[in-house]
């Protein structure tokens, strides 16, 4: 038999690969898996529970009540003139989405080591499925937020949704990308250095206090102008401020700060993907 044309191979396994080769074709081929993983997360979340998906409501609701009591009533921290529960719930809903994306993706390699060690599929599918299944959770929590807005609206409490609401989908994408990017960087590094797994647990708590979840940016600007930069350059701050501004009409953000956030986010995301891709190939030997 003669070999007329050079062999065409479907898969070539080599030690190194192109850092920016995301294997998007592969990811697309496995899109059904993404859907099924999201479904698995959702279904297994409330299997054998009585309240089922209601648990999605309970956590933000109680957090809001506690925050209203502790930070609003006891500590008397300003809420930019907004009704305290509305202010906190807006912050919590947005922050939770980011934080969930971050914590879940940051442990992708360690929690899925068993699966990744036995079968190949594009690893990117798992962090993507986390972002999507958190989106469902976020949707439910947004519903709670909208219900509360309606509740206070009927009572005649003043807040002003405005044209910046249109930024919402964009903000959502930014949060997802930021959570995903940071999560992938951390997950890639935890395969070798487990220290980061401990860091992330309380680091995310601390980061929340550097973000305008329980206080508005305007207060920081007023009271602590020297430390203002720490909060302001935190990319999540301008996202949450823009989120509040769009829905409630109060918040301190400029298009410039949002643009900077976008650039930072894209940079983190790209770096995350590169690091993730690098580690993906051999992590099973070190994890």
């Amino acid at each position: 038999m003669s070999e007329a044309k050079p062999d065409k191979w479907d898969i070539e396994l080599t030690p190194k690969n192109n850092l920016f080769d995301l294997k998007l074709k592969d990811v697309w081929h496995y899109r059904d898996l993404l859907v099924l993983l999201v479904r698995r997360d959702f279904v297994s979340f409330y299997k054998q529970t009585i309240l089922g998906p209601l648990w999605f409501f309970i956590q933000p609701l109680f957090t809001t009540i506690i925050y209203t009591f502790v930070f609003g009533s006891l500590a008397n921290i300003s809420t930019d003139g907004l009704k305290a529960p509305l202010f906190y719930l807006a912050g919590i809903t947005a922050w939770n989405y980011f934080a969930d994306c971050l914590t879940k993706t940051s442990s992708v390699f360690t929690t899925n080591a068993g699966l990744f060690g036995k079968v190949y599929f594009p690893r990117l599918i798992v962090p993507l499925s986390i972002v999507v299944s958190n989106l469902i959770r976020f949707g439910v929590q947004m519903l709670l937020f909208l219900l509360m807005m309606a509740f206070y609206g009927i009572q005649g409490v003043s807040f002003h949704p405005n044209a910046y609401l249109l930024l919402f989908p964009f903000l959502l994408i930014l949060m997802a990308m930021l959570g995903l990017g940071l999560g992938m960087i951390i997950s890639a590094m935890t395969t070798k250095y487990r220290d980061l797994a401990f860091l992330i647990a309380f680091g995310i708590q601390l980061m929340m206090y550097l973000t305008t979840v329980i206080y508005p940016l305007s207060t920081v600007k007023q009271k602590y102008p020297r430390y203002e930069w720490m909060v302001e350059y935190n990319p999540m701050t301008s996202i949450i401020e823009a989120f509040r501004y769009g829905f409630l009409g109060q918040g301190t953000f400029t298009m410039l700060s949002l643009a900077i956030t976008t650039i930072i986010t894209i940079a983190i995301m790209l770096f995350g993907i590169v690091v993730f891709n690098r580690v993906e190939r051999n992590f099973i030997d070190t994890v």
Binding site: E12, L13, H29, S44, V119, I284
Partner: protein
């Protein structure tokens, strides 16, 4: 036939010991070397993977410069001892881990079954897990839907298909998992020793399915197993690995012989001048070639010697299988009964007629009751029993095939 797998100079290094602690400086050093396009400084000192010998460096080559090609439709057995690199090879080919150097090229889709039931979620029902597991293995949803009935049928757990798999028995779990993988429409199927679980009927079903896949559908199968019989009847070609290197790549019967002969070197057939007690020594040997086919005789000779006279009342040869089960006892009390008084030396030669044990490794010990020594001896010699005729029917694995191979005749067969 076209080549579907081509492996060139493939190597894989593993680091021994702890990974992660105190490695930042090392990682930086490696990174710096890589940046300058130099060889990884910690791989240079790698050595051959021999787990029993303490090495100098903490990097070992699990695979070293592997080269081979596999043609479409071949069923290839990968044979080697523990640590020979079989699983590493399968891991690289199924893309779970990347090679350290070299490359492997493949054509078509790969279904790898390194473990059954990967990704099963205990809370989800059998039905949901079929979809999930199928998708993990790379099937599209429509494909799974089309095959769904066949999968359920093959697994034989139809009644439980809407029950969460955490309520399944372990056998049902494995059945369902294998069923999904078996119905994956791939050009290349990679199977690690996953069939050790499950009952005999199911093992047979799995092997039968794999045989269908390669012989009937012209797909390529790579199969790792320690069950030589299964490899012999399933695979037309085999690759023998030893310490991460390809020893040979040929037709299965040749490779299995080579493997067993290399294995044979570790089996001893002679014991000389073994001191049972300070004053009693033993010589023992069996067929010089300790590879025996079922039905052949096992010849042995033994002698006991002492400088002083001693009483010998009991002497037996004890045969044990791999699982330390005593398979048979050859009792010489009848012969000893004829001996009167003390002796200084005893010699016995004889043969066990027509060994009818199932294939595997067997060990021989001796039971001696005398004035000088009264106990079982340590393991003296080993022999390997192999199946001389390979049939088209795939034999059961040694775990389930019992101990004894009875010779039998069928005098009548009525089929209606």
């Amino acid at each position: 036939m076209a080549t579907v797998i081509k492996v060139e100079n493939l190597s894989k290094a593993y680091q021994l010991g702890d990974i992660g602690t105190g490695t930042i400086s090392r990682d930086l050093e490696r990174f710096w070397a890589k940046m300058r396009g130099k060889e990884d400084p910690f791989l240079k000192i790698g050595e051959v993977n021999d787990r029993s010998v303490k090495g100098e460096s903490d990097v070992v080559w699990s695979l070293k410069d592997i080269n081979f090609e596999i043609e479409q439709g071949d069923a290839v057995g990968i044979i080697g001892r523990n640590g020979a690199g079989k699983s590493t090879l399968l891991k690289i080919l199924s893309r779970v881990t990347a090679p350290t150097t070299g490359s492997a090229k493949l054509k078509g889709r790969i279904a790898s079954l390194l473990e059954v039931g990967t990704g099963f979620h205990p809370e989800l029902s059998g039905r949901e897990n079929i979809y999930l597991n199928g998708a993990i293995l790379g099937m599209r949803k429509a494909e799974i839907k089309r095959q769904f009935d066949a999968i359920v049928d093959f697994s034989g757990v139809e009644r439980y298909v809407d029950t969460p798999v955490k309520r399944y028995s372990s056998g049902m779990y494995v059945r369902l998992a294998f069923a999904v993988a078996a119905h994956l429409e791939s050009e290349i199927m990679i199977v690690d020793e996953v069939l050790a679980v499950g009952d005999a009927e199911f093992q047979k079903k799995c092997l039968g399915k794999m045989s269908d896949v390669s012989k009937g559908q012209g797909r390529t199968v790579l199969f790792v197993s320690h069950n030589m019989d299964a490899i012999e009847s399933l695979c037309n070609r085999s690759i023998l690995l030893n310490s991460g290197m390809v020893v040979n790549n040929d037709t299965t019967d040749k490779i299995i012989n080579q493997y067993l002969y290399s294995y044979k070197d570790e089996l001893s057939s002679v014991v000389e001048n073994l001191a049972l007690s300070p004053k009693l020594t033993l010589d023992f040997n069996i067929n010089t070639d300790n590879l025996i086919s079922i039905g052949e005789d096992l010849e042995f000779s033994l002698s006991l010697n002492s400088p002083e006279r001693f009483q010998l009342t009991d002497l037996s040869i004890l045969v044990y299988n791999e699982r330390e089960i005593r398979v048979s006892v050859i009792d010489f009390r009848t012969e000893l009964d004829k001996v009167e008084g003390g002796i200084t030396s005893l010699k016995i030669r004889g043969a066990v007629k027509g060994i009818n044990l199932i294939p595997g490794t067997y060990k021989i010990k001796l039971y001696v009751k005398s004035g000088l020594f009264h106990d079982n001896t340590a393991e003296l010699v080993q022999f390997y029993v192999r199946n001389p005729n390979v049939s088209e029917i795939i034999p059961y694995s040694s775990v389930v095939s019992g101990i004894v191979k009875f010779p039998y005749d069928v005098s009548e067969l009525v089929v209606l």
